[in-house]
């Protein structure tokens, strides 16, 4: 096994997802099969190969730091599940 139920539970925590025990087992089996398949990558020696994160030779594309027209507050909030006084509203984050 490349990955155990415990690993998958930890990844779920990092991913902000929760699963039932049976879902966790199914996912572990499927992820294990995919990681097993990905093992083919280890057949290659890539010690002297540069990584390609992006195909275009672009780096740090900047624009002038000028204010331009943007979404109104009303439109920006138009899809919010909950809002109050022009702000997104979330459950309490800190105690007290």
């Amino acid at each position: 096994m490349k990955i155990t139920c415990k690993d998958v539970a930890n990844v779920a925590l990092l991913s902000r997802l929760e699963f039932s025990e049976s879902e966790l087992e199914t996912f572990t089996g499927q992820m294990d099969a995919i990681l097993e398949y990905a093992d083919v990558l280890n057949k290659l020696n890539v010690d002297n190969v540069q990584p390609t994160a992006h195909v275009l030779p672009l780096k740090n594309v900047m624009r002038a730091d000028e204010a331009k027209p943007s979404l109104s507050r009303e439109l920006a909030l138009s899809n919010a599940p909950e809002q109050e006084d022009g702000y997104f509203k979330v459950p309490k984050i800190m105690e007290g």
């Binding site: 690993d7 990681l35 398949y37 990558l41 594309v61 979330v90």
Partner: protein
């Protein structure tokens, strides 16, 4: 012939000659949607009223004697991951089921500027993750050539709509084959442009270094027309290429004398349908008879591309999809505290494949595994790209099957994610390398369409369009029309 069976360029001629009106045409296609979409299920959202208003405006322009563009008044569909201002854009996900974008994607703006008529938003695999449209959070789409088979994916709704006469043209998006594979399965033409050729502004992100928007059409001519409209630099997409856009219709030339074709032997994988292989070999023979030169070449890292992709794309997805947290838009499930709200929201509203890729990506990026999986995959990506660079030192285009088989039955691969991933084996290297490719119909196996993929150099769309057009003009595969189960 019914109006909905024509191509955009044919219908444009009829509109400007005043043989038909845009309203008449739009009603004809809407009527077709009414008649067949209960079986095909290509659309998530229909925009019939605004479509008729758009058509009416085009008729007024034509009446006033104004010149109109080739897509003016021609009804089409947009994949539901392309943002449309004021029109629901769901990504086929329950998490965005009620999301109404406050802005238009750049491609939607460009189409509106040309007076294209939009009939609605097409079904897809949730967040474009999948190859069959069965991962839609709402319902699966059916292949118009055989309703028991899948239309491919993830742009399955777009391809099925065009094949069924429910749209004359459509836009899809392609991260690992999501335009080309459904185009192949549905017997239509799908073009994935060079990465950066078409603005991604307003395309809901899946894997940002791979995603690209492109046309799905009935023939190569329409593909060139749509490319003319949607291509070009956009300051709102920092990865868009700042270089001029040629007139792609100038490449609609029935002549490939001297064109050098490469046939990469590694693409003819184990498990490939013999009929598919035969159709591609026959097509190559025909292209050679038409004056092309052909040689077999080797792209030795092809077998690693799929594994690299299924580390890179989920890694990017796990980051891109972190924004769905129930705070600023989309679905929310209340929880005991904010972390609990995040977890409940995401667990309830994401489908299984999306969760699988978020988990896989999070794992590949997590401490202790980053070097072994993600970084290694990025290095392999370099090798895959170098295969293409070397191939294009020898040849002008590469020809491969678009997919190893024709459309498979609904439900056949849903329990085996890896089997589903293997359908992408011929299309994924193209996304990893950023090069353009087109899928065109090149035959049938047991009544189901076969797709041929023509791959070009970076910004080599003109060459692949010319090769595709020449093949198309010397065959009539594109003239068949899906039967929708009718005898």
């Amino acid at each position: 012939m019914e109006l909905f069976k024509h191509t955009a360029s044919q219908l444009h001629e009829k509109l400007v000659a005043k043989e038909i009106s845009a309203v008449e045409l739009t009603k004809a296609v809407l009527g077709r949607v009414d008649a067949v979409d209960k079986d095909v299920q290509a659309y998530i959202t229909r925009t019939s009223e605004t479509a008729l208003a758009q058509a009416q405006a085009v008729d007024s322009k034509i009446q006033r004697g104004e010149k109109v563009s080739v897509l003016a008044g021609i009804p089409g569909a947009l994949k539901d991951n392309i943002c449309t201002k004021g029109i629901k854009t769901t990504c086929a996900s329950k998490i965005l089921a009620t999301f109404v974008p406050p802005y238009d994607a750049t491609v939607a703006e460009k189409l509106a500027a040309e007076d294209a008529v939009i009939l609605g938003k097409a079904n897809m695999d949730e967040f474009a993750m999948g190859g069959s449209t069965e991962n839609s959070g709402f319902f699966p789409t059916h292949n118009p050539w055989n309703l028991e088979t899948v239309p491919g994916g993830s742009s399955g709704g777009s391809a099925a709509a065009v094949a069924a006469g429910e749209a004359i043209w459509a836009l899809g998006s392609d991260t690992g084959g999501s335009i080309r594979q459904p185009a192949a399965y549905c017997g239509v033409v799908g073009l994935k442009p060079t990465y950066g050729r078409v603005s991604r502004y307003g395309l809901v992100a899946y894997a940002s270094s791979l995603d690209q928007i492109g046309p799905i059409t009935r023939d190569v001519t329409d593909s060139a027309h749509v490319m003319n409209i949607i291509s070009g630099y956009d300051a709102k997409d920092s990865t868009s290429i700042n270089t001029g856009v040629p007139d792609y219709t100038k490449s609609l030339v029935n002549n490939i004398k001297g064109l050098k074709i490469g046939l990469p032997k590694e693409y003819f994988v184990a498990g490939m349908d013999a009929e598919v292989e035969r159709a591609i070999n026959k097509a190559i023979e025909q292209l050679v008879a038409l004056g092309a030169e052909y040689k077999e070449i080797s792209m030795p890292h092809t077998e690693y591309a799929l594994s690299a992709y299924y580390m890179i794309a989920p890694a990017e997805a796990s980051s891109n999809l972190a924004r769905y947290d129930g705070v600023s838009f989309g679905h929310r499930v209340e929880g005991n505290d904010i972390i609990d709200m995040y977890k409940k929201t995401r667990s309830e509203a994401f489908g299984a494949e999306v969760k699988r890729r978020i988990m896989l990506g999070t794992y590949a990026l997590s401490s202790g595994y980053y070097d072994a999986y993600y970084l290694k995959a990025l290095k392999v990506r370099t090798l895959v790209k170098q295969d293409f660079d070397k191939a294009f030192e020898q040849v002008d285009v590469l020809i491969t099957p678009t997919a190893p088989t024709t459309a498979f039955k609904l439900g056949e691969k849903t329990n085996d994610p890896l089997a589903m991933y293997l359908q992408d084996v011929c299309t994924i290297p193209v996304n990893l390398s950023g090069v353009p490719a087109i899928s065109i119909p090149c035959g049938f196996a047991a009544g189901m369409p076969i797709g041929m993929q023509i791959i070009g150099k970076p910004l080599g769309e003109e060459t692949i369009i010319r090769a595709a057009y020449t093949f198309e003009q010397n065959n009539d595969y594109h003239k068949g029309f899906a039967t929708l189960g009718e005898v």
